[in-house]
Amino acid sequence: MDEKVIVTNKGLVKAEFAFWVGIFLDKFYDNLENKKLIGNECPKCGDVFVPPRKICGKCNIVIPFEENWVDLPETGELMNYTITYHKINDRSDRKVKKPQIIGIVKIDGSSTGLVYRLLDLEPEEVKIGMKMKIQWEDNTKGDPSDIKGFIKV
């Protein structure tokens, strides 16, 4: 068992996928580009989803596209957070020098949490229940990166 196998085949798989985001998320991203947050409300249970969803899984119904839209504020409450040195992307995971604080923020008036970075905060300052606010990117593109993260109100 001391002998180490040194011949390996590096499998290179490159397949570019294009995911159709659908008309609900498309509308959401158009609004993000203008630094506006929108969600939609299930007509049956009243849950407000951000990003909006076509289907409420709990009620198992389609939320009509023509109505049920809700304008949401930039503010919310911190529900949960974690601090990690691990940074992951679609090719590798590595450890970084400065830890990232990642939080779950429930936007005021919505029923679900958004998972984003918490900015300009030291780990010891973070408290569950804190009021948070969106920090927008200067140049928005109509994708998830338009929200740079959340800052303390």
């Binding site: 949960n80 974690t82 601090i83 691990h86 992951i88 992307n89 679609d90 970075r117 998830p144």
Partner: protein, 380 residues
């Protein structure tokens, strides 16, 4: 439910870098189970393979594992992710009345692929994946914090689970060497590197290389094959919603409902009194506490007070659990094997006394989105 028996099992030694081909490893596990049960290749009527295409680096990866898994000219099908779910598929096949012997094998070799990146492919590609803030590492941190905050459980109490399981793993020859920590302390666990605060590296069930195999047979065949079949007397499974922001991570709704279904099937009314040992797939130390409560073995927030040592009130993961080694797609299957060993009195230095009924759990997804529970009984 008609009686289905576990008539054989085998597991390879778990290793962080096994340094041999995955097909050899699958063969070693499956052939070993067949040999130990005194059976032959021709006795196999159906095979359930359990891997993941991303982990295997190829699509429809079971086309290459059919032969080493005993499926040559037999009927074969594949389950993605946890081996405990593959056992469900095997069980249903036996219950169909069409099969006399099912081989169920599961496992993978994370030494060959970037584990956390492949887990990232579980996330929503249209919203979460581009920024990658939702991943298996951050999900673990959210889950532990949600549990601690809700019930006022301390980091030390969670670290205790890691200490117990790593000490138990030291008694289990097949556990991962890096997890066999006989002299580990709570302080060691808390002082290990931050994984996703409050989770530290030693609270994590380290993904490792390994494969396990299990044999299932209907009652009549099971009695012919072995004097000590282990009977599956109950199974339950359930799934909760996907987005972490929708879920209450302080508990496990999916395992709670899976447990209810399995207990009902097995006629268990008071699990605390009727079950002697539990093997739970805890991907992190805190999950063992959450699952213990979901399965009604302790009240909410009180799992840290339960003595779960091998000689304790209700031993949990005497084998070391998933913290003792976590081969993706094999871990839940190994829990069922370990519970079977306990029922057969084969667990050696980590044997629990007087085991009549045991439970074993499996899980899939971030924060155990999908859970499954088995009730197993020994004796004829």
């Amino acid at each position: 439910m008609e009686k289905v028996g576990i008539v054989g099992y085998n597991q390879v030694k778990l290793q962080s870098d096994a340094n041999y081909g995955r097909y050899e490893m699958i063969f070693e596990a499956v052939r070993g189970a067949i040999d130990k049960a005194g059976l032959k290749k021709k006795d196999i009527t159906t095979v359930i393979s359990c891997t993941n295409d991303y982990y295997d680096g190829r699509t429809i990866s079971n086309c290459f594992t059919v032969e080493v898994g005993g499926g040559y000219l037999a009927d074969e099908s594949k389950v993605e992710m946890d081996g405990a779910h593959a056992v469900l598929y095997g069980l249903l096949r036996i219950l169909s009345g069409n099969h006399k012997l099912a081989v169920v094998w599961g496992g993978s070799m994370p030494s060959c692929f970037p584990y956390h990146t492949t887990r990232l492919y579980e996330t929503d590609p249209t919203w979460e994946r581009p920024l990658a803030y939702v991943n298996d590492i951050t999900a673990a941190g959210f889950q532990m914090r949600a549990y601690m905050e809700k019930y006022g459980v301390s980091k030390e109490e969670v670290a205790n689970v890691a200490v117990k399981n790593r000490k138990n793993a030291a008694k289990n020859a097949l556990a991962l060497e890096e997890a066999q920590n006989q002299n580990i302390t709570v302080k060691d666990v808390l002082n290990s590197d931050i994984y996703a605060d409050p989770v530290t590296e030693l609270m994590v069930a380290q993904p490792c290389d390994g494969v396990a195999a299990l044999l299932l047979a209907p009652e009549k065949q099971a009695r012919k094959i072995t004097d000590n079949p282990v009977w599956i007397t109950g199974v339950g499974w359930n799934q909760e919603t996907y987005y972490l922001g929708d879920r209450d991570l302080s508990g496990s709704k999916s395992l709670e409902l899976a447990g209810k279904m399995a207990y009902n099937a097995a006629g268990i009314k008071d699990p605390r009194k009727e079950i002697q040992v539990a093997e739970l797939y805890e991907a992190y130390a805190h999950e063992e506490l959450i699952f213990t409560e979901a399965l009604k073995l302790a009240d909410r927030g009180k799992a840290p007070e339960l003595n779960t040592n091998i000689k304790g009130d209700l031993p949990i993961n005497p084998s070391g659990g998933a913290i003792g080694g976590n081969p993706p797609c094999g871990t839940g299957l190994i829990r069922i094997i370990e519970a079977s060993k306990q029922l057969n009195g084969e667990a050696g230095t980590y044997q629990v006394n007087g085991v009549k009924k045991a439970i074993a759990s499996g899980q899939i997804g971030m924060c155990a989105q999908n859970s499954i529970l088995y009730v197993l009984e020994g004796g004829n």
